[in-house]
Protein backbone atom coordinates (compact mmCIF):
# COMPACT_ATOMS: atom_id res chain seq x y z
CA UNK A 1 0.00 0.00 0.00
CA UNK A 2 2.73 2.45 0.94
CA UNK A 3 4.25 1.71 -2.40
CA UNK A 4 1.22 2.98 -4.26
CA UNK A 5 0.82 6.13 -2.20
CA UNK A 6 4.43 7.06 -2.85
CA UNK A 7 4.01 6.62 -6.57
CA UNK A 8 0.94 8.81 -6.71
CA UNK A 9 2.44 11.44 -4.46
CA UNK A 10 5.63 11.97 -6.44
CA UNK A 11 4.43 13.35 -9.79
CA UNK A 12 2.34 16.04 -8.15
CA UNK A 13 5.28 17.42 -6.24
CA UNK A 14 7.25 18.71 -9.16
CA UNK A 15 10.95 18.11 -8.62
CA UNK A 16 13.02 20.93 -10.05
CA UNK A 17 16.52 19.84 -10.95
CA UNK A 18 19.30 22.44 -10.69
CA UNK A 19 19.64 22.32 -14.46
CA UNK A 20 15.93 23.01 -15.00
CA UNK A 21 16.16 25.95 -12.60
CA UNK A 22 19.18 27.22 -14.47
CA UNK A 23 17.32 27.00 -17.79
CA UNK A 24 14.30 28.84 -16.45
CA UNK A 25 16.55 31.50 -14.90
CA UNK A 26 18.26 31.97 -18.21
CA UNK A 27 14.97 32.27 -20.07
CA UNK A 28 13.67 35.00 -17.75
CA UNK A 29 15.64 37.56 -19.74
CA UNK A 30 14.25 38.03 -23.28
CA UNK A 31 17.46 39.58 -24.64
CA UNK A 32 19.48 36.53 -23.55
CA UNK A 33 16.96 34.17 -25.15
CA UNK A 34 17.09 36.15 -28.39
CA UNK A 35 20.90 36.11 -28.31
CA UNK A 36 20.96 32.34 -27.83
CA UNK A 37 18.47 31.92 -30.67
CA UNK A 38 20.64 34.09 -32.95
CA UNK A 39 23.75 32.03 -32.10
CA UNK A 40 21.82 28.83 -32.84
CA UNK A 41 20.45 30.12 -36.15
CA UNK A 42 23.89 31.37 -37.23
CA UNK A 43 25.50 28.02 -36.45
CA UNK A 44 22.81 26.15 -38.38
CA UNK A 45 23.08 28.55 -41.33
CA UNK A 46 26.85 28.19 -41.46
CA UNK A 47 26.65 24.40 -41.19
CA UNK A 48 24.16 24.32 -44.05
CA UNK A 49 26.18 26.79 -46.16
CA UNK A 50 26.95 24.32 -49.00
CA UNK A 51 23.25 23.60 -49.46
CA UNK A 52 21.62 26.98 -48.98
CA UNK A 53 24.20 29.34 -50.50
CA UNK A 54 23.17 30.37 -54.04
CA UNK A 55 26.73 29.78 -55.27
CA UNK A 56 29.89 27.93 -54.22
CA UNK A 57 32.34 30.83 -53.72
CA UNK A 58 35.34 28.44 -53.69
CA UNK A 59 34.44 26.98 -57.06
CA UNK A 60 36.13 29.22 -59.63
CA UNK A 61 34.06 27.78 -62.49
CA UNK A 62 30.93 29.28 -60.97
CA UNK A 63 32.44 32.74 -60.79
CA UNK A 64 32.27 35.14 -63.67
CA UNK A 65 34.63 38.09 -63.66
CA UNK A 66 32.04 39.93 -65.79
CA UNK A 67 29.81 40.07 -62.73
CA UNK A 68 32.37 41.77 -60.50
CA UNK A 69 31.44 44.62 -58.11
CA UNK A 70 27.72 44.49 -58.81
CA UNK A 71 25.71 46.52 -56.30
CA UNK A 72 23.23 44.75 -53.98
CA UNK A 73 20.07 43.72 -55.80
CA UNK A 74 21.63 43.86 -59.28
CA UNK A 75 21.34 41.01 -61.74
CA UNK A 76 24.11 39.34 -63.70
CA UNK A 77 24.23 39.05 -67.48
CA UNK A 78 22.37 35.75 -67.24
CA UNK A 79 19.77 37.30 -64.98
CA UNK A 80 21.05 35.82 -61.70
CA UNK A 81 20.07 37.97 -58.75
CA UNK A 82 22.80 39.08 -56.35
CA UNK A 83 20.96 40.07 -53.19
CA UNK A 84 23.99 41.58 -51.46
CA UNK A 85 26.04 42.34 -54.57
CA UNK A 86 29.33 40.78 -55.69
CA UNK A 87 32.99 41.35 -54.88
CA UNK A 88 35.91 42.13 -57.19
CA UNK A 89 36.11 38.53 -58.43
CA UNK A 90 32.40 38.33 -59.22
CA UNK A 91 31.68 36.30 -56.06
CA UNK A 92 28.15 36.44 -54.70
CA UNK A 93 28.54 38.24 -51.35
CA UNK A 94 25.71 36.35 -49.66
CA UNK A 95 27.28 32.97 -50.49
CA UNK A 96 30.74 34.18 -49.54
CA UNK A 97 29.37 35.33 -46.19
CA UNK A 98 27.76 31.96 -45.44
CA UNK A 99 31.05 30.21 -46.19
CA UNK A 100 33.03 32.87 -44.33
CA UNK A 101 30.84 32.45 -41.26
CA UNK A 102 31.32 28.70 -41.44
CA UNK A 103 35.08 29.15 -41.42
CA UNK A 104 34.88 31.70 -38.59
CA UNK A 105 32.83 29.31 -36.44
CA UNK A 106 35.07 26.38 -37.31
CA UNK A 107 38.24 28.24 -36.35
CA UNK A 108 36.69 29.75 -33.23
CA UNK A 109 35.21 26.52 -31.89
CA UNK A 110 38.12 24.21 -32.71
CA UNK A 111 40.68 26.65 -31.29
CA UNK A 112 38.63 27.10 -28.12
CA UNK A 113 38.14 23.36 -27.65
CA UNK A 114 41.84 22.54 -28.04
CA UNK A 115 42.95 25.46 -25.87
CA UNK A 116 40.36 24.47 -23.28
CA UNK A 117 41.69 20.91 -23.13
CA UNK A 118 45.31 22.04 -22.78
CA UNK A 119 44.52 24.82 -20.33
CA UNK A 120 42.34 22.60 -18.14
CA UNK A 121 44.89 19.80 -17.90
CA UNK A 122 47.76 22.17 -17.07
CA UNK A 123 45.74 24.42 -14.75
CA UNK A 124 44.15 21.64 -12.73
CA UNK A 125 47.45 19.77 -12.49
CA UNK A 126 49.08 22.94 -11.18
CA UNK A 127 46.35 23.39 -8.57
CA UNK A 128 46.22 19.75 -7.46
CA UNK A 129 49.92 19.14 -7.07
CA UNK A 130 50.98 22.66 -6.10
CA UNK A 131 54.64 23.27 -5.32
CA UNK A 132 57.14 23.58 -8.11
CA UNK A 133 54.82 22.37 -10.90
CA UNK A 134 52.34 25.06 -9.92
CA UNK A 135 55.01 27.77 -9.84
CA UNK A 136 56.43 26.89 -13.24
CA UNK A 137 53.04 26.60 -15.01
CA UNK A 138 51.66 29.77 -13.49
CA UNK A 139 54.80 31.76 -14.23
CA UNK A 140 54.41 30.87 -17.90
CA UNK A 141 50.72 31.82 -17.71
CA UNK A 142 51.54 35.19 -16.11
CA UNK A 143 54.27 35.90 -18.62
CA UNK A 144 51.97 35.14 -21.51
CA UNK A 145 48.98 37.04 -20.19
CA UNK A 146 51.08 40.15 -19.71
CA UNK A 147 51.31 40.44 -23.49
CA UNK A 148 48.31 41.26 -25.69
CA UNK A 149 46.87 38.26 -27.52
CA UNK A 150 46.96 40.04 -30.87
CA UNK A 151 50.70 40.60 -30.65
CA UNK A 152 51.54 36.97 -29.81
CA UNK A 153 49.24 35.65 -32.53
CA UNK A 154 50.59 38.11 -35.09
CA UNK A 155 54.22 37.19 -34.46
CA UNK A 156 53.46 33.45 -34.44
CA UNK A 157 51.69 33.71 -37.78
CA UNK A 158 54.48 35.85 -39.19
CA UNK A 159 56.81 32.93 -38.37
CA UNK A 160 54.48 30.10 -39.37
CA UNK A 161 52.87 31.56 -42.49
CA UNK A 162 49.24 31.62 -43.61
CA UNK A 163 46.71 28.82 -43.25
CA UNK A 164 43.61 27.77 -41.36
CA UNK A 165 45.60 25.24 -39.30
CA UNK A 166 48.20 27.86 -38.44
CA UNK A 167 45.57 30.35 -37.32
CA UNK A 168 44.16 27.67 -35.03
CA UNK A 169 47.64 26.96 -33.61
CA UNK A 170 48.13 30.68 -32.95
CA UNK A 171 44.73 31.02 -31.26
CA UNK A 172 45.35 27.95 -29.08
CA UNK A 173 48.74 29.34 -28.03
CA UNK A 174 47.10 32.62 -27.08
CA UNK A 175 44.09 31.18 -25.27
CA UNK A 176 45.16 28.21 -23.18
CA UNK A 177 46.54 30.48 -20.46
CA UNK A 178 43.10 32.00 -19.73
CA UNK A 179 41.63 28.56 -19.04
CA UNK A 180 44.63 27.47 -17.00
CA UNK A 181 44.28 30.50 -14.76
CA UNK A 182 40.50 30.20 -14.44
CA UNK A 183 40.42 26.52 -13.55
CA UNK A 184 43.37 26.82 -11.18
CA UNK A 185 41.49 29.44 -9.18
CA UNK A 186 38.45 27.19 -8.81
CA UNK A 187 40.43 24.02 -8.20
CA UNK A 188 42.49 25.59 -5.40
CA UNK A 189 39.26 26.16 -3.47
CA UNK A 190 37.70 22.79 -4.33
CA UNK A 191 40.87 20.93 -3.38
CA UNK A 192 40.28 21.79 0.28
CA UNK A 193 36.83 20.15 0.35
CA UNK A 194 36.03 16.93 2.17
CA UNK A 195 35.12 14.90 -0.91
CA UNK A 196 38.66 15.29 -2.21
CA UNK A 197 40.03 14.14 1.16
CA UNK A 198 37.62 11.20 1.00
CA UNK A 199 38.77 10.29 -2.51
CA UNK A 200 42.38 10.51 -1.37
CA UNK A 201 41.69 8.24 1.57
CA UNK A 202 40.26 5.69 -0.81
CA UNK A 203 43.72 5.71 -2.40
CA UNK A 204 42.30 6.55 -5.78
CA UNK A 205 44.93 7.39 -8.41
CA UNK A 206 45.63 11.10 -8.87
CA UNK A 207 44.30 11.24 -12.45
CA UNK A 208 40.99 9.78 -11.30
CA UNK A 209 40.61 12.27 -8.46
CA UNK A 210 41.53 15.14 -10.76
CA UNK A 211 39.29 14.30 -13.70
CA UNK A 212 36.36 12.52 -12.05
CA UNK A 213 36.07 14.42 -8.78
CA UNK A 214 37.82 17.78 -9.02
CA UNK A 215 37.12 18.77 -12.62
CA UNK A 216 33.29 18.51 -12.68
CA UNK A 217 33.12 20.82 -9.66
CA UNK A 218 35.29 23.48 -11.29
CA UNK A 219 33.29 23.72 -14.52
CA UNK A 220 30.89 26.68 -14.09
CA UNK A 221 33.38 29.57 -14.36
CA UNK A 222 35.05 27.70 -17.21
CA UNK A 223 31.80 27.63 -19.19
CA UNK A 224 31.61 31.44 -18.97
CA UNK A 225 35.22 31.97 -20.01
CA UNK A 226 34.94 29.46 -22.86
CA UNK A 227 31.79 31.11 -24.26
CA UNK A 228 33.36 34.56 -24.28
CA UNK A 229 36.62 33.17 -25.67
CA UNK A 230 34.79 31.72 -28.69
CA UNK A 231 33.69 35.27 -29.51
CA UNK A 232 37.22 36.45 -28.85
CA UNK A 233 38.70 33.79 -31.12
CA UNK A 234 36.33 34.66 -33.96
CA UNK A 235 37.15 38.34 -33.58
CA UNK A 236 40.89 37.67 -33.43
CA UNK A 237 40.80 35.41 -36.48
CA UNK A 238 38.95 38.12 -38.43
CA UNK A 239 41.50 40.72 -37.34
CA UNK A 240 44.48 38.53 -38.28
CA UNK A 241 42.93 37.73 -41.65
CA UNK A 242 42.26 41.43 -42.21
CA UNK A 243 45.94 42.14 -41.51
CA UNK A 244 46.87 39.55 -44.13
CA UNK A 245 48.46 36.93 -41.87
CA UNK A 246 45.38 34.74 -41.27
CA UNK A 247 43.52 32.44 -43.63
CA UNK A 248 44.61 32.15 -47.29
CA UNK A 249 42.82 34.11 -50.01
CA UNK A 250 41.28 30.91 -51.45
CA UNK A 251 39.21 30.33 -48.30
CA UNK A 252 37.95 33.77 -47.32
CA UNK A 253 36.72 34.18 -43.75
CA UNK A 254 34.56 37.14 -42.76
CA UNK A 255 37.67 39.14 -41.85
CA UNK A 256 39.26 38.54 -45.24
CA UNK A 257 36.03 39.52 -47.03
CA UNK A 258 36.06 42.81 -45.14
CA UNK A 259 39.73 43.29 -46.05
CA UNK A 260 38.87 42.73 -49.73
CA UNK A 261 36.17 45.37 -49.55
CA UNK A 262 38.44 47.85 -47.79
CA UNK A 263 40.10 48.72 -51.12
CA UNK A 264 36.77 49.86 -52.55
CA UNK A 265 35.52 51.88 -49.59
CA UNK A 266 36.92 55.16 -50.87
CA UNK A 267 35.05 54.76 -54.16
CA UNK A 268 31.82 54.34 -52.20
CA UNK A 269 31.37 50.61 -53.00
CA UNK A 270 30.40 49.85 -49.46
CA UNK A 271 28.74 46.44 -49.72
CA UNK A 272 31.84 44.25 -49.90
CA UNK A 273 32.92 45.22 -46.38
CA UNK A 274 29.70 46.43 -44.76
CA UNK A 275 27.68 43.20 -44.96
CA UNK A 276 30.35 40.71 -43.80
CA UNK A 277 31.17 43.16 -41.00
CA UNK A 278 27.54 43.32 -39.88
CA UNK A 279 27.37 39.53 -39.82
CA UNK A 280 30.63 39.38 -37.85
CA UNK A 281 29.34 41.96 -35.36
CA UNK A 282 26.05 40.10 -34.97
CA UNK A 283 27.88 36.82 -34.34
CA UNK A 284 30.29 38.23 -31.77
CA UNK A 285 27.60 40.32 -30.06
CA UNK A 286 25.20 37.38 -29.73
CA UNK A 287 27.90 35.12 -28.23
CA UNK A 288 28.98 37.89 -25.85
CA UNK A 289 25.40 38.46 -24.70
CA UNK A 290 25.01 34.73 -23.98
CA UNK A 291 28.33 34.74 -22.13
CA UNK A 292 27.34 37.82 -20.14
CA UNK A 293 24.11 36.19 -18.99
CA UNK A 294 25.92 32.96 -18.09
CA UNK A 295 28.39 34.96 -16.04
CA UNK A 296 25.56 36.62 -14.11
CA UNK A 297 23.88 33.27 -13.45
CA UNK A 298 26.96 31.23 -12.60
CA UNK A 299 28.68 33.81 -10.42
CA UNK A 300 28.06 32.68 -6.85
CA UNK A 301 28.85 36.13 -5.47
CA UNK A 302 25.80 37.64 -7.17
CA UNK A 303 23.43 34.88 -6.06
CA UNK A 304 23.23 35.97 -2.43
Amino acid sequence: MTDVSLKTALPQEKVETPFARFVSDYCSNPVSVAALAVVFVLIVLSALAPWIAPQDPYDLTQLSIMDNMLAPGERSMEGKLYLLGTDDQGRDMLSAMFYGLKLSFFVGIVATAVALAIGVVLGITAAYFGGRIDTVIMRIVDLQLSFPAILIALILLALLGKGVDKVIIALVTVQWAYYARTIRGGALVERQREYIDAARNLALPAHRIIFRHLLPNCLPPLVVVATIQVAHAISLEATLSFLGVGVPITEPSLGLLIANGYKYILSGKYWVSVYPGLLLLLTILAINLVGDRLRDLLNPRLKA
Binding site: I155, T239, G244, G261, Y262, L266, L281, I284, L285
Partner: protein
Protein backbone atom coordinates in the same frame (compact mmCIF):
# COMPACT_ATOMS: atom_id res chain seq x y z
CA UNK B 1 60.01 49.85 -0.21
CA UNK B 2 63.57 49.47 -1.47
CA UNK B 3 63.37 45.68 -1.30
CA UNK B 4 60.07 45.79 -3.17
CA UNK B 5 61.59 48.03 -5.85
CA UNK B 6 64.68 45.90 -6.31
CA UNK B 7 62.66 42.70 -6.60
CA UNK B 8 60.15 44.26 -8.96
CA UNK B 9 62.89 45.62 -11.24
CA UNK B 10 64.54 42.19 -11.15
CA UNK B 11 61.26 40.64 -12.31
CA UNK B 12 61.03 43.11 -15.21
CA UNK B 13 64.56 42.30 -16.31
CA UNK B 14 63.73 38.61 -16.14
CA UNK B 15 60.69 39.13 -18.38
CA UNK B 16 62.80 41.00 -20.93
CA UNK B 17 65.45 38.27 -20.82
CA UNK B 18 62.84 35.52 -21.19
CA UNK B 19 61.26 37.25 -24.16
CA UNK B 20 64.67 37.85 -25.69
CA UNK B 21 65.30 34.10 -25.43
CA UNK B 22 61.94 33.30 -27.04
CA UNK B 23 62.45 35.81 -29.86
CA UNK B 24 66.00 34.51 -30.36
CA UNK B 25 64.84 30.90 -30.53
CA UNK B 26 61.81 31.73 -32.67
CA UNK B 27 63.52 33.83 -35.29
CA UNK B 28 67.00 32.38 -35.22
CA UNK B 29 66.05 28.71 -35.14
CA UNK B 30 62.83 28.48 -37.15
CA UNK B 31 63.98 30.94 -39.78
CA UNK B 32 67.46 30.56 -41.23
CA UNK B 33 69.60 33.17 -39.43
CA UNK B 34 71.41 34.01 -42.64
CA UNK B 35 68.10 34.88 -44.28
CA UNK B 36 67.29 36.95 -41.24
CA UNK B 37 70.38 39.08 -41.33
CA UNK B 38 71.42 39.15 -44.97
CA UNK B 39 69.71 40.73 -47.94
CA UNK B 40 68.06 38.03 -50.10
CA UNK B 41 70.26 38.83 -53.13
CA UNK B 42 73.56 38.16 -51.32
CA UNK B 43 75.94 35.77 -53.11
CA UNK B 44 77.80 32.69 -51.82
CA UNK B 45 80.96 34.50 -50.72
CA UNK B 46 78.95 37.05 -48.78
CA UNK B 47 77.02 34.25 -47.09
CA UNK B 48 80.18 32.46 -45.97
CA UNK B 49 81.65 35.72 -44.74
CA UNK B 50 78.46 36.55 -42.86
CA UNK B 51 78.33 33.12 -41.21
CA UNK B 52 81.81 33.69 -39.85
CA UNK B 53 81.25 37.32 -38.92
CA UNK B 54 78.01 36.52 -37.11
CA UNK B 55 79.60 33.56 -35.36
CA UNK B 56 76.98 31.11 -36.63
CA UNK B 57 79.52 28.31 -36.43
CA UNK B 58 79.61 28.82 -32.66
CA UNK B 59 77.43 26.85 -30.21
CA UNK B 60 73.91 28.08 -29.57
CA UNK B 61 74.50 29.52 -26.11
CA UNK B 62 77.39 31.64 -27.40
CA UNK B 63 75.20 32.92 -30.20
CA UNK B 64 72.54 33.84 -27.68
CA UNK B 65 75.10 35.81 -25.66
CA UNK B 66 76.16 37.64 -28.82
CA UNK B 67 72.50 38.43 -29.51
CA UNK B 68 72.11 39.78 -25.97
CA UNK B 69 75.26 41.90 -26.34
CA UNK B 70 73.90 43.35 -29.61
CA UNK B 71 70.62 43.97 -27.84
CA UNK B 72 72.37 45.82 -25.00
CA UNK B 73 74.17 48.00 -27.52
CA UNK B 74 70.86 48.69 -29.26
CA UNK B 75 72.12 47.28 -32.54
CA UNK B 76 69.77 44.76 -34.14
CA UNK B 77 70.94 45.07 -37.71
CA UNK B 78 69.75 47.06 -40.69
CA UNK B 79 66.33 46.99 -42.31
CA UNK B 80 66.43 45.18 -45.68
CA UNK B 81 63.85 47.56 -47.11
CA UNK B 82 64.93 50.93 -45.71
CA UNK B 83 68.65 50.22 -45.40
CA UNK B 84 68.84 52.03 -42.06
CA UNK B 85 69.14 50.83 -38.47
CA UNK B 86 66.10 48.75 -37.48
CA UNK B 87 66.08 50.13 -33.94
CA UNK B 88 66.36 53.67 -35.32
CA UNK B 89 63.34 53.06 -37.57
CA UNK B 90 61.23 51.97 -34.62
CA UNK B 91 62.19 54.99 -32.53
CA UNK B 92 61.49 57.26 -35.50
CA UNK B 93 57.92 55.91 -35.73
CA UNK B 94 57.29 55.52 -32.02
CA UNK B 95 55.99 59.09 -31.33
CA UNK B 96 53.13 58.66 -33.83
CA UNK B 97 51.94 55.50 -32.06
CA UNK B 98 52.40 56.88 -28.56
CA UNK B 99 50.46 59.98 -29.51
CA UNK B 100 47.61 57.90 -30.91
CA UNK B 101 47.52 55.69 -27.81
CA UNK B 102 47.55 58.64 -25.42
CA UNK B 103 44.72 60.47 -27.22
CA UNK B 104 42.73 57.22 -27.22
CA UNK B 105 43.41 56.83 -23.50
CA UNK B 106 42.15 60.35 -22.79
CA UNK B 107 39.05 59.66 -24.93
CA UNK B 108 38.40 56.47 -22.97
CA UNK B 109 38.49 58.39 -19.68
CA UNK B 110 36.57 61.47 -20.82
CA UNK B 111 33.80 59.48 -22.49
CA UNK B 112 33.83 56.33 -20.38
CA UNK B 113 33.74 57.64 -16.82
CA UNK B 114 30.70 59.97 -17.13
CA UNK B 115 28.72 57.30 -19.00
CA UNK B 116 29.69 54.60 -16.52
CA UNK B 117 28.84 56.72 -13.48
CA UNK B 118 25.53 57.69 -15.05
CA UNK B 119 24.69 54.04 -15.73
CA UNK B 120 25.74 53.13 -12.20
CA UNK B 121 23.40 55.72 -10.68
CA UNK B 122 20.43 54.69 -12.80
CA UNK B 123 21.04 51.00 -13.29
CA UNK B 124 17.41 50.08 -13.78
CA UNK B 125 16.27 52.97 -15.97
CA UNK B 126 16.37 52.87 -19.77
CA UNK B 127 19.35 55.27 -19.73
CA UNK B 128 21.42 52.91 -17.60
CA UNK B 129 20.37 49.88 -19.58
CA UNK B 130 21.12 51.41 -22.97
CA UNK B 131 24.56 52.55 -21.79
CA UNK B 132 25.38 49.05 -20.55
CA UNK B 133 24.03 47.39 -23.72
CA UNK B 134 26.06 49.92 -25.70
CA UNK B 135 29.17 48.86 -23.83
CA UNK B 136 28.59 45.22 -24.82
CA UNK B 137 28.26 46.33 -28.44
CA UNK B 138 31.51 48.27 -27.99
CA UNK B 139 33.21 45.11 -26.73
CA UNK B 140 31.90 43.12 -29.67
CA UNK B 141 32.70 45.58 -32.47
CA UNK B 142 35.46 44.21 -34.68
CA UNK B 143 37.96 47.05 -34.33
CA UNK B 144 39.13 47.21 -37.93
CA UNK B 145 35.58 47.09 -39.27
CA UNK B 146 34.54 49.94 -37.00
CA UNK B 147 37.42 51.98 -38.42
CA UNK B 148 36.32 51.20 -41.98
CA UNK B 149 32.76 52.22 -41.15
CA UNK B 150 34.02 55.52 -39.72
CA UNK B 151 35.92 56.14 -42.96
CA UNK B 152 32.85 55.25 -45.00
CA UNK B 153 30.63 57.59 -43.03
CA UNK B 154 32.80 60.59 -42.16
CA UNK B 155 35.31 60.56 -45.02
CA UNK B 156 33.40 59.13 -47.99
CA UNK B 157 29.74 60.03 -47.40
CA UNK B 158 29.94 63.25 -45.38
CA UNK B 159 33.50 64.18 -46.43
CA UNK B 160 34.16 65.88 -43.09
CA UNK B 161 37.37 64.12 -42.13
CA UNK B 162 40.40 62.84 -44.06
CA UNK B 163 40.31 59.07 -44.68
CA UNK B 164 43.87 58.35 -43.56
CA UNK B 165 47.44 59.47 -43.19
CA UNK B 166 48.88 61.66 -40.49
CA UNK B 167 48.43 65.16 -41.89
CA UNK B 168 50.47 68.19 -40.81
CA UNK B 169 52.52 67.89 -37.63
CA UNK B 170 54.27 70.25 -35.24
CA UNK B 171 57.78 69.85 -33.86
CA UNK B 172 59.06 69.77 -30.33
CA UNK B 173 62.60 68.61 -29.40
CA UNK B 174 62.83 67.18 -32.92
CA UNK B 175 59.79 64.96 -32.40
CA UNK B 176 56.87 65.26 -34.79
CA UNK B 177 53.47 65.45 -33.09
CA UNK B 178 50.04 66.01 -34.60
CA UNK B 179 48.75 67.39 -31.33
CA UNK B 180 50.96 70.46 -31.68
CA UNK B 181 49.39 71.44 -34.99
CA UNK B 182 45.60 72.02 -35.07
CA UNK B 183 45.62 71.30 -38.81
CA UNK B 184 46.61 67.70 -37.94
CA UNK B 185 43.79 67.12 -35.45
CA UNK B 186 41.17 65.97 -37.97
CA UNK B 187 43.56 63.20 -39.05
CA UNK B 188 43.96 62.09 -35.46
CA UNK B 189 40.27 61.94 -34.60
CA UNK B 190 39.04 58.75 -36.31
CA UNK B 191 42.09 56.56 -35.58
CA UNK B 192 42.01 57.61 -31.92
CA UNK B 193 38.29 56.88 -31.63
CA UNK B 194 38.77 53.47 -33.27
CA UNK B 195 41.56 52.61 -30.88
CA UNK B 196 39.54 53.96 -27.92
CA UNK B 197 36.19 52.25 -28.52
CA UNK B 198 37.11 49.01 -26.72
CA UNK B 199 38.65 50.91 -23.80
CA UNK B 200 35.62 53.19 -23.55
CA UNK B 201 33.46 50.09 -23.06
CA UNK B 202 35.92 48.80 -20.49
CA UNK B 203 35.92 52.08 -18.53
CA UNK B 204 32.10 52.19 -18.63
CA UNK B 205 31.99 48.72 -17.07
CA UNK B 206 34.54 49.58 -14.37
CA UNK B 207 32.91 52.93 -13.53
CA UNK B 208 29.48 51.29 -13.47
CA UNK B 209 30.51 48.53 -11.08
CA UNK B 210 32.50 50.97 -8.93
CA UNK B 211 29.65 53.47 -8.67
CA UNK B 212 27.07 50.84 -7.77
CA UNK B 213 29.31 49.55 -5.02
CA UNK B 214 30.32 52.99 -3.75
CA UNK B 215 26.73 54.30 -3.53
CA UNK B 216 25.93 51.62 -0.93
CA UNK B 217 28.89 52.50 1.28
CA UNK B 218 28.57 54.22 4.63
CA UNK B 219 30.69 57.19 3.64
CA UNK B 220 28.22 58.11 0.90
CA UNK B 221 25.29 57.82 3.31
CA UNK B 222 27.17 59.90 5.83
CA UNK B 223 27.99 62.58 3.26
CA UNK B 224 24.33 62.67 2.29
CA UNK B 225 23.26 62.92 5.93
CA UNK B 226 25.71 65.81 6.32
CA UNK B 227 23.74 67.59 3.62
CA UNK B 228 26.44 67.69 0.96
CA UNK B 229 25.26 68.44 -2.54
CA UNK B 230 24.83 65.54 -4.94
CA UNK B 231 27.47 66.87 -7.29
CA UNK B 232 30.00 67.09 -4.44
CA UNK B 233 29.26 63.55 -3.28
CA UNK B 234 29.69 62.23 -6.82
CA UNK B 235 32.54 64.45 -7.93
CA UNK B 236 34.68 64.14 -4.81
CA UNK B 237 33.73 61.14 -2.70
CA UNK B 238 32.54 58.58 -5.24
CA UNK B 239 34.88 59.54 -8.07
CA UNK B 240 37.96 59.34 -5.88
CA UNK B 241 37.12 55.79 -4.87
CA UNK B 242 36.25 54.42 -8.29
CA UNK B 243 39.30 56.02 -9.86
CA UNK B 244 41.91 53.69 -8.33
CA UNK B 245 40.88 50.52 -10.22
CA UNK B 246 40.25 52.49 -13.41
CA UNK B 247 43.70 54.09 -13.36
CA UNK B 248 45.34 50.73 -12.69
CA UNK B 249 43.52 48.92 -15.47
CA UNK B 250 44.04 51.73 -17.96
CA UNK B 251 47.73 51.92 -17.13
CA UNK B 252 48.06 48.25 -17.96
CA UNK B 253 45.88 48.70 -21.04
CA UNK B 254 48.23 51.34 -22.44
CA UNK B 255 50.49 48.47 -23.45
CA UNK B 256 47.70 46.60 -25.19
CA UNK B 257 46.74 49.81 -26.99
CA UNK B 258 50.24 50.11 -28.40
CA UNK B 259 49.92 46.51 -29.64
CA UNK B 260 46.40 47.05 -30.97
CA UNK B 261 47.57 50.16 -32.81
CA UNK B 262 48.81 47.58 -35.37
CA UNK B 263 45.19 47.21 -36.51
CA UNK B 264 44.17 50.86 -36.29
CA UNK B 265 47.30 52.09 -38.03
CA UNK B 266 46.77 49.61 -40.88
CA UNK B 267 43.21 50.82 -41.45
CA UNK B 268 44.06 54.54 -41.37
CA UNK B 269 47.55 54.33 -42.91
CA UNK B 270 48.90 55.97 -39.76
CA UNK B 271 52.71 55.96 -39.93
CA UNK B 272 53.43 54.44 -36.49
CA UNK B 273 55.26 51.33 -35.36
CA UNK B 274 52.19 49.12 -35.87
CA UNK B 275 52.00 49.89 -39.58
CA UNK B 276 55.77 49.45 -39.77
CA UNK B 277 55.43 45.98 -38.22
CA UNK B 278 52.69 44.89 -40.64
CA UNK B 279 54.66 46.21 -43.62
CA UNK B 280 57.80 44.46 -42.34
CA UNK B 281 55.94 41.16 -41.92
CA UNK B 282 54.60 41.51 -45.45
CA UNK B 283 58.09 42.15 -46.85
CA UNK B 284 59.89 39.67 -44.54
CA UNK B 285 62.00 42.53 -43.16
CA UNK B 286 63.03 40.47 -40.16
CA UNK B 287 65.52 42.80 -38.43
CA UNK B 288 62.69 45.31 -38.04
CA UNK B 289 60.34 42.61 -36.67
CA UNK B 290 62.94 41.58 -34.08
CA UNK B 291 63.62 45.21 -33.16
CA UNK B 292 59.88 45.92 -32.82
CA UNK B 293 59.40 42.92 -30.56
CA UNK B 294 62.29 43.72 -28.26
CA UNK B 295 61.38 47.40 -27.94
CA UNK B 296 57.71 46.66 -27.32
CA UNK B 297 58.61 44.00 -24.73
CA UNK B 298 60.84 46.51 -22.94
CA UNK B 299 58.08 49.10 -23.15
CA UNK B 300 55.55 46.69 -21.64
CA UNK B 301 57.89 45.71 -18.86
CA UNK B 302 58.45 49.41 -18.13
CA UNK B 303 54.70 50.21 -18.12
CA UNK B 304 53.94 47.25 -15.83
CA UNK B 305 56.75 48.33 -13.53
CA UNK B 306 55.51 51.93 -13.30
CA UNK B 307 51.90 50.81 -12.70
CA UNK B 308 53.02 48.41 -9.96
CA UNK B 309 55.12 51.06 -8.24
CA UNK B 310 52.31 53.65 -8.49
CA UNK B 311 49.86 51.10 -7.18
CA UNK B 312 52.01 50.28 -4.19
CA UNK B 313 52.32 54.00 -3.47
CA UNK B 314 48.55 54.49 -3.72
CA UNK B 315 47.60 51.34 -1.86
CA UNK B 316 49.96 50.31 0.97
CA UNK B 317 48.29 46.89 1.26
CA UNK B 318 49.99 45.75 -1.96
CA UNK B 319 53.42 46.69 -0.69
CA UNK B 320 52.86 45.12 2.73
CA UNK B 321 51.40 41.90 1.37
CA UNK B 322 54.33 41.57 -0.98
CA UNK B 323 57.02 41.99 1.64
CA UNK B 324 55.10 39.78 4.05
CA UNK B 325 55.45 36.74 1.84
Amino acid sequence: MLAFLIRRIGQSLFVILAMAAIVFLGVFLIGNPIDVLLAPDADQAERAQAIQRLGLDKPLWQQFLIFLADLARGDLGKSFVHGTSAVGLIFERLPATMELALVALVLAIVVGIPLGVMAGLRGESWVGRSIMTGSIVGFSLPNFWFGIMLILFFAVTLQWLPAGGRGPTGHIFGIELSLLNPAGWPNLLMPALTLAIYKISLVIRLAYAGTREAMLQDYVRFARAKGLSRSRILGVHVLKNILIPIVTVLGLELGSMIAFAVVTESVFAWPGIGKLLIDSIGRLDRPVIVAYLMIVVALFALINLIVDILYSVLDPRVRLADSGN
